[in-house]
């Protein structure tokens, strides 16, 4: 009973306070690869705090949609985070069909962020939003195919029993396929290299960064916080496939989870350091490849 309460408290605590650490780790990893010293690990926290103390300028063509979007996106991501088990611990909320809600909450977030981008009337932001919705059609399909593999393997349509069931001992081909496919989806959904470059606002790479060009001050802080949280949630999902280990001791398992998350961010950093961003017209091919990987995993289970 006490452990249950503790689990929920730690779950919510980590979900709220750990996300900005991940971009910090990614940036540090990239700096190491580039031979630089790099920003402090906690720089994203400092950035968000700084932004919250600033004033902001709003575009005169915008309506309430523009102001609401970061809030709705954050709330949706937070709720999605509550549906997902972290490490070996059950999620605070779980019920039949929660995996669909999980996928659709990100859809809700996307609906609002892309609408907000169009609300400014800027062609740059429109272009970013257009790319976001187009690529989402492929990545969401690939995502659901990956989840379908897990549904079949675990025999459950709820995230907690699905991800906590012993998916594969030893890892079977479908799980490996799904893990690879979901990792690409993770990179694409969080707009990391090789799909998008989070460091530039250049027209060639404009997806997420272009959509938030007109956000400033606290609004921008909220956007950064929200995207860090999305990275956190999707990484926590992918961890179940990459390292389904557990120790069995309450504290040690949470410690392991935190370490695994940091390692995951480091891996993303390594991917970003060693790969070039794809040309925009090749992104759909990459996402279809993710879908195909998951699809092959799916086909392998048809007996």
């Amino acid at each position: 009973m006490l452990n249950d309460v503790m689990t929920i408290a730690i779950h919510i605590g980590l979900l709220l306070f750990m996300p900005p650490l991940l971009p910090g780790v990614i940036n540090r990893t990239k700096a190491v690869f580039a031979g630089r010293k790099g920003p402090p690990l906690l720089q994203p926290y400092f950035d968000i705090c700084k932004l919250f103390h600033k004033g902001m300028v709003i575009s005169e063509s915008t309506t309430w949609v523009f102001l609401a979007a970061p809030v709705v996106a954050l709330a949706a991501t937070l709720l999605a985070g509550l549906l997902l088990p972290f490490g070996p611990f059950a999620a605070p909320i779980h019920f039949t069909g929660d995996l669909i809600l999980f996928v659709y909450l990100f859809g809700l977030a996307r609906f609002f962020t892309t609408s907000a981008a169009l609300d400014t009337g800027s062609s740059f932001e429109g272009m970013g939003a257009a790319r976001e919705v187009a690529f989402a059609c492929l990545s969401e399909t690939a995502f659901l195919l990956g989840l379908l593999v897990l549904v079949r393997l675990s025999g459950s349509v709820s995230l907690t029993p699905m991800l906590l069931s012993p998916l594969a001992h030893p890892p079977e081909a479908p799980v490996l396929m799904a893990a690879a496919g979901l990792f690409i989806v993770l990179l694409a959904e969080n707009l990391r290299i090789p799909v998008d470059d989070p460091n530039t606002h250049l027209e060639l790479t404009m997806i997420h960064e272009a959509m938030v060009l007109d956000n400033s001050g606290p609004l921008l802080g909220l956007v950064h916080y929200g995207s860090a949280m999305k990275l956190f949630v999707l990484s926590a999902l992918a961890l179940h496939l990459f390292v389904p280990f557990q120790i069995g001791i309450f504290g040690a398992d949470w410690g392991l989870f935190v370490i695994e998350m940091i390692a995951m961010a480091a891996v993303i950093g390594i991917v970003e350091s060693t790969m070039a961003r794809l040309q925009m017209r090749h992104v759909p091919t990459l996402l279809m490849a993710a879908g195909l990987l998951n699809g092959i995993g799916f086909v392998l289970m048809v007996r």
Partner: protein, 670 residues
Amino acid sequence: MEMSLTLAACVLILVSGVPGLFSRRRSAWGQMTATVLVLAGSLIGLTGSFAVLVTRHVFLASLPGIWPGAPFQLKMDSLSAFFSVLIFLMAAVGSIYGHGYWRQREHSTTGQKLRLHYGVMLAAMVVVTLADDALAFLLAWEVMALTSFFLIATEDGQPECRQAAWVYFVATHLSTLALFAMFALMHEASGKFLLSAIPVTTGAGLKMAIFLLALLGFGLKAGMMPLHFWLPSAHANAPSHISALLSGVLLKVGIYGLLRVLTLMPDPPAAWGVLILTLGAISAVLGVAFALGQHDIKRLLAFHSVENVGIILMGLGVAMIGIAVHHPVWVILGIAGCLLHVWNHGLFKSLLFLSAGSIVRSTGTRNIDSLGGLARRMPWTAGLFMLGAIAICGLPPLNGFISELLVYLGLLRPAAGHGSGSWVAVASGAVVLAMVGALAVACFVKVLGGVFLGSGRSTAATEASEAPLSMRGAMAVLAGLCVAIGVAPVVVLVPLESAATVWMGNEAAGSQLAVLFPWTMLTAISMGLAVTILIAVTVWQIIVRADASPRRATWACGYTKSNARMQYTASSFVQILLELLRWVLRPITHGAGPKQLFAESVDRHTDVPDFITDRMASKYWQIFKQRLIPLRRIQQGSVQEYLLYMLLAVFIMLALLIPFGQISAHLLGR
């Protein structure tokens, strides 16, 4: 009692347009009477229908004298009531909306006939859901088809409107023809014209023929791909509250017919379910894909109806497969998803069509690319449209999500089991549904961005004004219901369980619905989402004070003189997706791009024509017409000739009645 209420409601609605015929053209009196009669009828009808859904009683009534040789029987059970609830509700909403949208004073030439046909069509639709024998069904079906033809042709001064109405006319008669054949075969199988169960001993070939004819006849009405060809232009060219009715209700009558006939079929093979599921998946994907390419907002919404009918059919497909392989859980989830999506689509699609009507009324255009920035001129319409858009994309916490989740669970449940075989086909449906969801988000963000957000691209858009109270009120009712079903899905559990039980004919399985779906959990989730957003907004207000922030022009990378025409247009917004889907949509580009290095004036636009009406029909229709020329000889338009044909027909029928065998036996026997 419930049945009499429903029939009384039918009569009230049927005659609602009649008093107006005797009023003067420009007086509002006729419209008032019609609205009052429709509202009264709807209230009575809703009471009766809900009572049937709750008590699960079955009522029979027959009017034996009406037709010699056929009983003309009506029967009301929960499945009929489930559909008549939707019809009565939309009747009331459309009629209130019509007060602001189609004022008698402004439309003095068309208002009277519109209201007459409106009432008759609604009453006919209710009778279709009640009909228990072939004759009553076909009669009501035909009345419904004819009156809806007149409703589509309301503005018959415009050539595209006449064209749309004629295409609809051909389609609906193809549908009736298929149904005539279907009922004849059903008579062959069961020996009755009543809608009674077909004997188990019927041959597989005959059952298959009945099923395929039902799929053709009802599929045409429901707008299933590739039988949807009449739908986009018919829905786009009718007045908006009629479009709402056609899209939200009339298509569902097709679904009702299919559901009803399937209840009569014993032991359906799994192939039927797979066929319905496949057709549903095709309709869903292609419906939304074609919607992406449209520039006309009402045409776009019409293609989304095809998409949603696809989702409804996917639910039905799962249920049919479940029946064939004896998995009651699949059946109940599939049919519940199918039925609830019927209601939900009726609500949010009507809401979207009514909001589109409000845009058309105040700007005079349906072209998405020439609007923009309406959210500030028409905040109510914008907010309500946005709500409808979230609902139709199946996003939480609105009603679209609830029914899509039911369908998803039906599709995923087989994959979670340990059985082999049909789960693959079913589970692939879930992937299709995910893709449809993402495409729908893209499509509705396109509409929202193009029409309501940013700044206006034409004077019509910058000078638009908000819709009158009656129109906003009608839309608000629908929006409220979308929110209610989304936030507290448990309110639909009783009607859903009742209708699903009748369809399955299995009391025990029907009652499982309550435990198979997270009814109350979703309420908690929606509340959680709402509370989180509220807290965030409150904290937000304290930290940010958005209204105190300075407002400046949108940042354009240092360029200071941007204007509305430099915005990303709705067409450019979906260009990447159109490129990806080029192999099926085959968009046509008119005009060439700039050829020189320096700026010059170019005119370039893309169209996504419908693949049946615009590509195949126009090609093959000519050939068809050539072949039929010889037949013109018997169709000369002279009344005498037609009288002769009738007389001949009567003679032939009488001749068939003469007992030649007996007579000859009599004569020869002597």
